[in-house]
């Protein structure tokens, strides 16, 4: 279940960050986000789901690989640039060595149909893992100042634009994103005014 803010932990050193991110990167086949969410929110309890979603929102909107941006920002939050570097290095160093070794072996492996089939099956699971993570993070929207119906509406529109209509991401973020942020701003202002009276 969702941990209370009081029960959050923090990593004790950049070294802990390095090994935690190495560990989660090595479990992430076809993408690391699912494992990152599980390890950071549920196993280590460094961030709540809301906080994870907030960091992810910034990581998604900026250019660059989302999980690397996420690692940087999480590491930076705890130990400044040393933490950022430790988390990013943990995320990439060992997996880079593995992927280069696999590439060197690739020409021999690719000839077997079983290997091609296994790659295909892993690809399907990887796609499912990403969608499953989205559904899991969806529970954090219950606390959204936008309200659940508006969140669902925005989500459906964004999904349709990107997945079905294949609009460029930049336009979806600029169009729908700006509308969503302006609406959130008015809701937050209304909530603050209500509290002031």
């Amino acid at each position: 279940m969702q941990p209370e803010p009081g029960s959050l932990a923090r990593p004790d050193s950049p070294k802990t960050l390095f090994f935690a991110f190495t560990g989660l990167a090595l479990q992430g086949f076809g993408g690391v986000l699912t494992v990152a969410q599980r390890v950071i929110c549920e196993e280590r309890r460094w961030l709540t789901r809301e906080q994870f979603l907030e960091v992810l929102a910034v990581a998604q909107v900026l250019p660059g690989p989302n999980v690397c941006n996420l690692a940087l920002m999480v590491g930076d939050r705890f130990f400044g640039w040393r933490g950022a570097f430790a988390a990013l290095a943990g995320m990439t160093a060992v997996p880079l060595a593995i992927v280069l070794v696999l590439t060197a072996l690739y020409t021999q492996f690719a000839l077997y149909p079983a290997v091609a089939g296994a790659l295909k099956g892993m690809g399907a699971v990887a796609a499912g893992l990403i969608a499953g993570t989205a559904l899991r993070l969806g529970s954090a929207l219950r606390y959204s100042p936008l309200g659940v119906p508006v969140c669902v509406g925005l989500g459906v529109l964004a999904f349709a634009a990107v997945a079905l209509l294949r609009w460029p991401l930049v336009w979806v973020l600029l169009g729908l994103g700006v509308v969503a942020c302006v609406y959130a701003w008015t809701r937050l202002r209304a909530a603050e005014n209500a509290r002031a009276h």
Binding site: V32, A114, G121, F159
Partner: protein, 178 residues
């Protein structure tokens, strides 16, 4: 494997990935079409098979998907090529992410920052769902989609170990069922 790159080739390769880094909103995978244009069509460093194999290998390998960029660099020009493409795609975006993360965290109680996070949350979730959709729709066949949906539901509702799911996917695929 091409190894005789001129200085100009190296600068072009590195410079192009530096530029793509700043354009890669949504991850490096979104600028793949442009990488294809440069590496395959313009510079002739990779052929089509090597290019698509780079992405498949990185996806089947543990770690962030961005490593496919290093695989492309490696196939084009060895270890130094991998260093050039990976450093190129990472340097600008990581610098920006660090600066933006700090800026936002220092102002986290400021209403525009809170509005940004609250407004973007449902869209971020929808983008993840869309990524799952696009990845599983690449390959035709309903069994493939069924496998993806099963994995999604298991991740959502249970705490089954993720490696178990990946291994099951590999096994089902190796047996030719998807």
């Amino acid at each position: 494997m091409a190894s005789a790159l001129s200085t100009l080739d190296w600068l072009t390769l590195f410079g192009h990935f530096l530029l793509l880094s700043l354009l890669s909103i949504g991850g490096a995978i979104t600028v793949v079409p442009d990488m294809h244009r440069v590496l395959v069509e313009q510079m002739g460093l990779l052929n089509d098979t090597q290019f698509s194999a780079s992405i498949a290998i990185a996806q089947a390998s543990p770690g962030p998907n961005v490593l496919f960029v290093a695989v492309m660099g490696y196939q084009a020009a060895g270890l130094l090529g991998a260093a050039a493409t990976l450093a190129g795609i990472m340097l600008p975006s990581t610098t920006l992410a660090l600066a933006a993360g700090r800026w936002g965290h220092a102002r986290r109680e400021w209403r525009p920052v809170r509005a940004f996070k609250a407004g973007m949350a449902p869209i971020v979730i929808a983008l993840l769902l869309a990524t799952g959709w696009i990845l599983s729709a690449q390959t035709p066949g309903w069994r493939h989609v069924l496998l993806a949906v099963a994995a999604a539901v298991l991740v959502w509702r249970t705490r089954v170990h993720l490696l178990v799911l990946v291994a099951a996917g590999a096994l089902v695929g190796a047996l030719g069922w998807v």
